[in-house]
Symmetry: C2
Subunit: 155 residues, 2 copies
């Protein structure tokens, strides 16, 4: 009975469609794109409040966005670049370059740098110091860009 | 110069496409679906490690997944249900029911319950107690299901 409830609950969260560590390539691409998209929404909220419109700065909202970015960075997204995900799969298109799979050391270096900046952003965001958050937001964005420049197709 | 770098970095994170608080309906739907999809991947990792295959339990991975779920729950996704998002918009389809926009008090009640369970899951996950995590994972999934049952179309 209890297990049935757990299963039902799991299905409710979309887990019946292969949302596990061994997800099929199509789902891996879907999940990694979802992770980046949702992170970009949160980057956008910080940008809106510390760059575009500083008078709208809300410490709690910015801290929540920074938490999401750090949690995404630390979620082990490398597992979503398994075999078969180097090209479009099913309904999912990917812009990842072939070089991404050929240069694991470079990918790791960029990933570690991104995680470091995201963790620092999360830390700085708790202070509510808008200027410091703006500076660290810039560094975090640069660490996104470093990987995009190297491993993401433009179109 | 510094500002240009910041802008470039922002563009790198996809912020040139309207990823802010006033995102257009199509983007709001895209971002909210992305948030739920990425969260479901993280729910799936916890399920895999505490339900399906307990011998694979990894405390750090489960804690990271729980952090992502809590950060998503606390990210203010209500902002992604603005006017125009009650129906498909552009390339984005939505399964949200009309009732979602007509019953704000019920939505708030379910959202608060979900945030509470997600925060508790994050807390319990730090203990590394697999049985306790399994129990709280079940409660969190039930809080997902409560909203899906009421406000999400089946198809």
């Amino acid at each position: 009975m209890k297990f049935n409830k757990l299963l039902l609950a799991a299905v409710a969260c979309g887990l019946a469609t292969g949302a596990n560590a061994q997800a099929k390539p199509e789902d891996q691409i879907k999940f990694r794109k979802a992770g980046y998209a949702f992170m970009s929404w949160n980057m956008g909220k910080i940008k809106a409040q510390v760059v575009d419109n500083p008078s709208s700065f809300n410490k709690d909202q910015v801290a929540a966005a920074a938490n999401l970015i750090a949690a995404t960075a630390n979620s082990g997204m490398g597992a979503l670049y398994g075999p078969g995900t180097e090209k479009d799969a099913g309904s999912q298109k990917t812009r990842v370059k072939a070089e991404f799979f050929q240069q694991p050391d470079e990918v790791k270096k960029l990933a570690v740098a991104f995680i470091k900046e995201a963790n620092e952003l999360q830390k700085v965001a708790t202070t509510g110091d808008a200027a410091a958050i703006k500076a660290q937001f810039g560094k975090t964005g640069e660490s996104c860009k470093a990987c995009h420049d190297k491993f993401r197709k433009d179109d």
